[in-house]
């Protein structure tokens, strides 16, 4: 019997490895391929009590890892309001449309809210992965999405706790919510006590820390079940507690191992539990998929634009939200246990999520451009200085540091950025222009041609060159200095061909390193001298 369990595990891990491997080769999201692989591997995966236990174990660790990721520092403080509106508002509207689509496809009763959640929620994992591959993590839309998805994930956790009890009785739902809240408060206490440095010194070695991480997860699961909430919510709260540990970097290996091992297992086992889709389910599947892929992006983009983000940012945010969430997979698992969902409803929603995962990286930027046309025009703020000022293009980390220094000296200046969030780190009385620095109209609004200096702190070297092209289209009225920060040697060379001196961060850093080393050596010599 123990051998049978090992064989089951072996098959699940093997299928997961193949799916992930294939995903890596064809560059598709592993999550979607894992579910499909699980579905295809149904004949060789024995669906017994152990597999069910494995499903819920894996689900718990998935949520635990999600909780750990939910570090408070990840919420963008400056634009929290806008992020909340996009995260909550757009999700709610899309959710209502999803519910309507399900009703139109003939679904009834308790299953409808699950369909709403399946459409409304988007995937943190898939979006962050896509952003990382495209190198857009630090772009305006990347940061907005990261914040909004974090908000959504919290909503998802609440849904997981509440939905199985709704329409049952309000009392049950209330008890479940109260249980989750009580457990959440307890998690904060645990974070304080266990995360406190005095306790931490008792668990100085990796083994004990690993066990502690696992034990917290299991302990919270037991507590959650005892309080009438799904055990999985307990695991999430345990993760949330760990996220607040001051020394949680030391738990990372354990958390990572849990995520890397249990996530693929969860997805494969989930796929194995899906019944094969029937013809009768096809209309619901197609309707919901369309709601996720087409309707939701438009809604999210509109909401983001209305909150004040520029067209381009809003279009990308909308476009990238066009998929279901990994939390939906958890939710439908809980839903099927609560008998809110039938087996076929479970499979339809799961497959909608899987299919939408597959589409996200494929849609490229074409749809984003299409969306951009639909959205209302940007407004630009009026620039103040018209001559003899310094124009700073791009206020990221280096740009904002520079702006603060210049502002402190009373230099007359204008800042330009396409991300309204970026201005939050710029002193309030510094004039600003919202828009793309490559756009001649934007440059004109910043009176770039009359400036005494233009400093470019842009994220990509190609953009620097495009801005230079735009600037060269017009004769300047006065002599001006152009300084540009670039990241590559090639970029620096191309700029010097144009007669512009580039600043390479690593060159500056090498000089600083040299100084630091000299100081260290001198300090060591001084210490030696005093000790003699």
């Amino acid at each position: 019997m123990a051998e049978a369990v090992l064989v089951t595990l072996a098959v699940v891990i093997g299928v997961a490895a193949i799916a992930h491997y294939a995903a890596r080769i064809v560059n598709a999201p592993p999550a979607a391929l894992s579910i499909i692989a699980g579905l295809l591997a149904r004949p060789v995966i024995p669906r017994d009590a152990f597999l069910e236990a494995l499903l819920f174990l894996a689900l718990a660790f998935l949520l635990f890892a999600a909780g750990v990721n939910m570090h408070p520092a990840r919420f963008p403080r400056a634009t929290l309001g806008a992020v909340l509106i996009v995260g909550l508002g757009a999700t709610a509207i899309a959710g209502v449309i999803g519910a309507a689509a399900a009703a139109a496809a003939g679904w009834t009763g308790n299953a409808i809210p699950y369909a709403g959640a399946a459409v409304g929620l988007s995937s943190t994992v898939v979006v962050l992965q896509t952003l990382a591959i495209r190198g857009e993590m630090v772009d305006a839309h990347g940061r907005l999405l990261a914040g909004a998805l974090l908000v959504q994930d919290l909503v998802a956790i609440l849904l997981i706790a509440i939905l199985p009890h709704v329409p049952g009785s309000f009392r049950d739902a209330g008890v479940a919510v109260a249980g989750v809240i009580a457990l959440g408060l307890f998690a904060l206490v645990v974070a304080r006590v266990v995360g406190g440095s005095r306790f931490w010194r008792l668990v100085a070695d990796a083994e004990t820390r690993t066990l502690l991480a696992f034990a917290l997860t299991f302990g919270f699961m037991l507590l959650a079940s005892a309080l009438g909430a799904p055990a999985a919510t307990g695991a999430f709260l345990a993760g949330l507690a760990v996220a607040r540990f001051p020394a949680n970097v030391h738990l990372r290996p354990a958390v990572r191992a849990a995520r890397e091992f249990f996530t693929p297992v969860f997805l494969v086992v989930l796929g194995a539990f899906f019944p094969l889709p029937a013809v009768a389910d096809v209309p619901a599947f197609l309707l919901l998929l369309a709601a996720v892929l087409v309707v939701k992006p438009v809604i999210v983009a509109l909401v983001s634009r209305l909150v004040g983000f520029p067209r381009r940012v809003s279009a990308h945010v909308g476009d990238l939200s066009g998929q279901g969430s990994e939390f939906t997979l958890v939710l439908i698992t809980v839903g099927v246990v609560a008998e809110d969902l039938t087996a076929s409803g479970f499979a339809v929603l799961g497959l909608v999520v899987a299919a939408s995962f597959l589409v996200t990286p494929l849609r490229g930027k074409f749809t984003a451009r299409l969306l951009e046309r639909v959205l209302p025009e940007d407004r630009t703020a009026p620039p103040v200085p018209t001559e003899g000022h310094v124009v700073v293009l791009g206020v990221g980390r280096a740009g904002s540091t520079l702006v603060r220094a210049l502002h402190a000296r009373g230099t007359s200046l204008v800042v330009v950025d396409m991300d309204p969030n970026a201005f939050s780190v710029v002193p309030k009385d510094v004039p600003r222009v919202l828009g793309d620095a490559r756009d001649p109209q934007v440059l004109h609004a910043a009176h770039a041609w009359n400036a005494r200096a233009i400093v470019m702190m842009l994220r990509k070297d190609e953009v620097v060159e495009e801005v230079l092209e735009a600037l060269a289209d017009r004769e300047g009225d006065r002599e001006r200095v152009v300084l540009a920060r670039v990241f590559t040697e090639e970029g620096a060379e191309r700029l010097s061909d144009r007669g512009i001196a580039a600043i390479l961060p690593h060159e500056v850093a090498v000089r600083a390193l040299d100084e630091a080393v000299t100081t260290l050596v001198e300090r060591a010599e001084a210490a030696d001298a005093t000790s003699e």
Binding site: M1, A2, E3, A4, V5, L6, L9, I13, G14, A16, I18, H20, Y21, R24, I25, F50, E52, A53, L57, L202, V203, A206, E207, T210, L211, L212, F214, A215, T217, F218, A231, P253, A254, A257, F261, P264, V336, V337, G396, A398, T401, L402, A405, R409, T411, A453, L483, R485, A501, I503, P505, H506, V508, A509, V510, A512, L513, A516, V517, L520
Partner: protein, 550 residues
């Protein structure tokens, strides 16, 4: 279809076991004892004492997975260089110690009233010492690189070899016990068993040489996928071993051994380790749960006698062998002290022997009890072996032990006086080039396996996660002139600052002003913050500079 999950006995059982294991692990840490003792104690509390947990097949299988992972890591850790340096002396000393301890143990067990078969099993099983317990203590003491530390590890490797042999042999002895069949049939069976074992090991090694590098190639730099592939490979061998009636442990060991040749070995070890910690704890707790507490009192006197034998007998045999081989008295004695406990494999062997009807559960409980007693006593002794040695040196009879000056050959010592650059990207590359041009010896630690092969000439590199402290130490973390933490994540820099406290100065990279301040407060000797540096450079280059605006 899926049914109610939370009430599932597997999940609940696992939860209770994990919570208890963690609690006892922390308690044991507090008492300065190895966690293994805590796990067994937790199991005894949950099972025989409170009756909270029963062991189902799932828990049992997950525990077995823990043992497979342990063997896998033992294989993964084998380094050919270390084997070459410590191998020959350790092989002689280890073999003599095993033979001596087995002989002594056999007669002691007979004296204590065990039957011939049980006595033989006990003698063999109790001759092995615990790699996990001792290596953990040696690491905590910082003694892994000393002569005695390396000799001890060498002896453990030799013991592991014999364990692999035993694991191959044991399943054959099953059925009617020893000698149930005619000697010639038995000989053929032994031959076949060894042939099957060799087939598994050879297949694992050949695959690791020819096939796995190709398969793993696309996974480089994708740690999650790497872990999945590794586990899948482990399971292939485990299932294949089971199918061929070879012990699962041997298959897992061969799998680890094969992967030890790959550049990912270091990293894999780190990734697999948390899973090992969980599942192995499960295994030991499971053993505790099954422990028959009622009989423990009855066997306690005999167990105490055996404990004294293991503590003193094992140590004595090994000390004398090493001393006569020409090692210093201190190194010989401290190595001897290190083997004075019973191995977790003894329990694995006992578990296997029970499934083969070779021994009764009582014999297993005896092994478990002796293990608990010896591990507890010997960890105290190892922890203070220097003091014990100094105390004994005052006696004349102790000084009769020869005191030689033989030493273990050095294996590529960690670099010294270099610049350790942790984290590789375009920025790190620029720093490395500049440092190299300035005549510094640069060693790079990169988180991608391809980086070490692509470094500019004159720059050395290793592949390891920045959180992988043992790998950083092998790269000379403590002996570097200074360390550059070129890591975008402040959390990682803080871990590194923690690890180098009291060591070389650390120059950290920071991506923002506030992070730079934080890292300086946490002990960075200098901080390179590119955004701040770039802004400063722009200020310098602006026309008129400060004067025009001032």
């Amino acid at each position: 279809m899926v049914t109610d999950p939370t009430a599932g006995s597997v999940t609940t059982g696992l939860a209770v076991v994990a919570v208890a294991a963690a609690a006892f692990a922390i308690l044991m840490r507090r008492l300065g004892q190895p966690t293994v003792v805590g796990f067994l104690a937790a199991g005894i509390l949950l099972g025989p004492v409170l009756g909270l947990v029963t062991i189902g097949s799932a828990l049992e299988a997950l525990g077995e997975l823990g043992v497979a992972l342990l063997l896998f890591l033992v294989g993964l850790d084998l380094s050919l260089d270390e084997v070459r340096a410590v191998g020959p002396p350790a092989f002689i000393a280890g073999t003599v110690q095993l033979v001596g301890s087995t002989l002594g143990g056999y007669y002691l067990a007979l004296f204590l009233g065990f039957g011939t078969g049980a006595a033989l099993f006990l003698a063999v099983a109790l001759a092995f010492s615990s790699t996990v317990v001792v290596v953990k203590i040696l690491v905590d003491l910082g003694d892994m690189a000393t002569t005695y530390g390396r000799l001890a590890v060498g002896v453990f490797l030799v013991q592991d070899l014999f364990i692999v042999l035993l694991l191959t042999l044991l399943p054959l002895l099953g059925g009617g016990g020893l000698g149930a069949e005619s000697p010639s049939v038995f000989a053929v069976e032994i031959g076949l068993a060894f042939a099957r074992t060799l087939v598994i090991i050879a297949a694992a090694l050949v695959a690791a040489r020819l096939v796995l590098p190709l398969v793993f190639r696309p996974a480089a730099g994708h740690p999650g996928l790497l872990l999945l592939l590794t586990l899948a490979w482990l399971f292939v061998l485990v299932v294949a071993s089971e199918g061929m009636h070879v012990s699962v442990e041997v298959g897992a060991f061969a799998g680890g051994l094969g992967l030890s040749m790959m550049p990912y070995a270091h990293d894999l070890r780190r990734r697999v380790h948390p899973l090992l910690d969980l599942f192995l704890a499960l295994f030991f707790v499971t053993l505790g749960v099954r422990f028959a507490l009622g009989d423990a009192l009855a066997i306690l006197p005999a167990a105490l006698l055996f404990t004294v034998f293991v503590l003193i007998g094992n140590a004595l045999v090994l000390t004398l062998v090493l001393a006569f081989m020409g090692y210093s008295r201190e190194a010989s004695f401290r190595t001897g002290i290190a083997v004075g406990q019973v191995s977790e494999f003894s329990i694995v062997l006992a578990a296997l022997a029970i499934t083969q009807d070779l021994i009764t559960p009582e014999v297993r409980d005896f092994v478990v009890l002796v293990m608990i007693l010896t591990v507890a006593a010997s960890s105290v002794l190892i922890w203070r072996s220097k003091a014990v040695y100094d105390a004994l040196s005052r006696f004349k009879w102790f000084r009769l032990i020869p005191d030689g000056d033989r030493d273990v050959e050095e294996v590529a010592p960690p670099p010294d006086g270099h610049v350790l650059l942790v984290g590789w990207d375009a920025f790190g590359a620029a720093l490395a080039r500049a440092l190299h041009a300035a005549g510094e010896r640069v060693v790079v630690v990169a988180a991608h396996p391809d980086v070490p092969d692509r470094l500019p000439p004159g720059v050395d590199g290793v592949y390891a996660d920045p959180e992988n402290t043992p790998a950083l130490e092998a790269a000379g973390l403590r002996h570097a002139r200074f360390v550059i933490a070129n890591l975008p994540e402040p959390g990682l820099v803080r871990v590194l600052l923690d690890e180098t406290r009291g060591g070389p100065p650390v120059i950290a990279r920071a991506e923002a002003e506030d992070v730079a301040e934080l890292l300086e407060k946490e002990g960075a000797s200098a901080v390179l913050a590119p955004p701040v540096l770039v802004a400063g450079e722009v200020l310098r280059r602006l026309p008129g500079g400060d004067a025009a605006d001032g």
